[in-house]
Symmetry: C2
Subunit: 163 residues, 2 copies
Amino acid sequence: MSQTPLPYRAHNHRACVDQALADAHRICNDAHARLTPTRERVLELIWQSHKPLGAYDLLGALAQEGQNAAPPTVYRALDFLQQHGLVHRIASLNAFVGCAHAGHRHTGFFLICRACRNVLELSAPQVAAAVDKAAQEEGFAAEDTTLEIAGLCPACQRESDHD
Amino acid sequence: MSQTPLPYRAHNHRACVDQALADAHRICNDAHARLTPTRERVLELIWQSHKPLGAYDLLGALAQEGQNAAPPTVYRALDFLQQHGLVHRIASLNAFVGCAHAGHRHTGFFLICRACRNVLELSAPQVAAAVDKAAQEEGFAAEDTTLEIAGLCPACQRESDHD
DNA sequence: GAATGCGATGTTATAATATTGCGTTCATTG
DNA sequence: CAATGAACGCAATATTATAACATCGCATTC
């Protein structure tokens, strides 16, 4: 784990995918959950892309590989992966990304570049704390937080300066 | 209808809807935008419900009133209302709510009760600040923030205690 | 008053996303 | 090995959203 490489930073992508898969195996093993071939393949596709993938993107990729998959196949795999904290759903995009902190408790939080479509997952305790505090002041019992920030990543800001 | 409680607080609902419509008229007037009958009716339906309404809920309501509306009619009205800050889209629900702070600059932020489905919109500067800070630390230029918190409102927490 | 431009609306079709239900297969365990 | 339950295949359908193009009404201008 540690040192998780990020979209905005060059990294050895193959290694990063392998690491994610290895983590997933470990996590599922510990949870007595079955990381079946389809589930693993879906997770791998998501990590390979490193950008949010829609369910039907995944479906298309599986179809190309000869797996005769229907929508439920993909949605079930995604449900499983979400339940085990291996992927996140980005509500504002109807798409899925690999979880950068699988296995850790965290309130994820996403920076979504509208230009290059990369997504950076942060785990910012001070943000989570501010949110919890605001909720508590209303007597609200928070269970699940969706926090997605669209904008421009550093690289794409430079790009748009050139115009 | 009647007596639909404003999220977590009793209030005169008819007056609350009227107020929202009056505000909307003023805001559109100031912006030289046309709050046409369909747009106004959609906004009114949203406020009357006081809970998130889906586009097809609205479509159904319009149909019942004899308006022969197709999906684009509703989506266009919703686009207009969003652009003028009169409604918000709740990404995690694919639904729409009236904006509680129309006309004010704000980064909205929603507490969504999973039991009664009421939504409370907050404008919490300290949360917005924490989010901006975290984004800036990554060099990310934030443009649009989606912050939606699902959980249980105070009333529904008491309900579930009774079980 | 005809011509023009333009925002709003109507209409049809279709795209994109997601779920239900049911029967079958397969791994595990007793 | 039989029973169990999770996972999967498959067909159909539900839900959410957009594209493309025609039309209407109204203000401006000639």
